[in-house]
Symmetry: C2
Subunit: 236 residues, 2 copies
DNA sequence: ACCTGAACACCGTTCAAGT
DNA sequence: ACCTGAACACCGTTCAAGT
């Protein structure tokens, strides 16, 4: 058949099929040949749309990050030509932002971030490698950092908060804590693991355990950060 | 040559070589054939010592977790025959434990946990899937949970704290936050990412940025948890 | 028991060939 | 420009054969 009049494939169709395959059968199940079969084309066809499998994975990852809500950080300040100079110093608090709104923004963002990632846990190891050159990942980093700085956090601290939030969110989305414990009670020999007598019941409560742990950790983190934010005002 | 008088391989030698390969070249570089070459044997030889590649990976992962210090949780209480019954209710605080020692234990453990994992970041995605049936991972979960319960945390909360600590530690060890940002300044177009003008310098400060973020997050978490621990006493 | 080579069904990627 | 089949150097794993 060679080249059809209307293309059989598109980057979007390939990315969607790849994500479905990764979600359903894991990262290892994504092979270019298998994916091509799923799309009813031959293996090498994919190379008309992506240079390598890694390039394809990058696109899949960025499509997932694109689902994260960033609206709580406000639309980009200064969409006009002077946007580049806005990040320096004077912007802190001037735009009528109260400053103490950052915990709620961080909370909302973290929940959306986790929801987007937890919907596709098998791809989290790839995405956790950092933004690289992926636009949605860079936009996310820009929005969080910008919001924290504009809320009065020193730049160094804002960087650390962006990092530690990513640690927590990616860690929570990477795999279910509860489901990591086999449901087979015989695993937990009381002589070896005296406190895990009930651990075999964890997997059955997977959703509530993981959700509860995430919420507890998120609130604890925000409380701890609020303590440090208050100290900023004391000794400027 | 067939079977040699003294075996060429052992599980220990295979695990050590596999970990070295994963550390040096990544998880994808670990193939049974490549590993066999590294060990100067033919590919199928490995199957005399491990049933599958996944079994081998399990052993590698557990050897890494075995490096985590658990001594801050104390040696197993009740090494005698009645160990199984100790996890119930009455043990809280009775053994002379002050209760408020748990934050320091958690801090020391988290640091050791992170150090062990961050030394082998490429294997963290595998290990983050949970303990499964790996003895060192189960021992770790048992020690943390047991310590928290004996410190007075309700079992449900202790589970959540074990989970959220794993989220944070695995997330921090999975990949460097700083190194995830390309060192190429041209990536950060001011029109697209107004606040990332200095992001190209992050990778150069990789160690301090990630260490600082981990320490900030750890202390914030511990502060937030201490707040909740104090509330336990107020309304029992 | 522990190693080998041969074999099977897979991979990612390149390339010449087709329209 | 976009798809194909053939080909290359790889995979994980099985198995019969050797000692």
């Amino acid at each position: 058949m060679a080249r059809p009049r209307t293309p059989l494939l598109s980057r979007e169709r390939i990315v969607a099929a790849a994500l479905r395959l990764i979600d359903d059968e894991g990262l290892d199940a994504l092979s270019t040949r298998r994916l091509a079969t799923e799309l009813s084309v031959s293996g090498p066809s994919l190379y008309n749309h992506f240079a390598t499998k890694d390039d394809l994975l990058d696109a899949v990852v960025d499509s997932v990050i694109g689902e994260v809500d960033l609206s709580m950080f406000g639309t980009a300040a200064g969409a006009a030509g002077d946007a580049g100079a806005a990040g320096a110093l004077g912007a802190a608090g001037v735009a009528g932002r109260t400053g103490s709104a950052w915990p709620q923004a961080l909370r909302d963002w973290a929940r959306s971030y986790r929801a987007a990632l937890a919907a596709h846990p098998n791809i989290v190891p790839v995405l956790a490698q950092g933004p690289g050159r992926r636009p949605n990942a860079l936009r996310l980093a820009d929005a969080v950092f910008g919001h924290l700085v504009e809320s009065g956090w020193p730049r160094g601290q804002a960087t650390r908060i962006g990092a530690l939030m990513r640690y927590f969110v990616t860690g929570s989305a990477l795999a279910s804590f509860a489901a990591g414990f086999p449901a087979d009670a015989e695993v937990y020999d009381a002589a070896d693991y005296p406190h895990l007598g009930e651990a075999h019941r964890l997997a059955g409560h997977r959703g509530t355990v993981d959700e509860g742990a995430f919420e507890t950790g998120l609130e604890a983190l925000l409380d701890g950060l609020a303590l440090r934010y208050a100290r900023l005002a004391e000794r400027p």
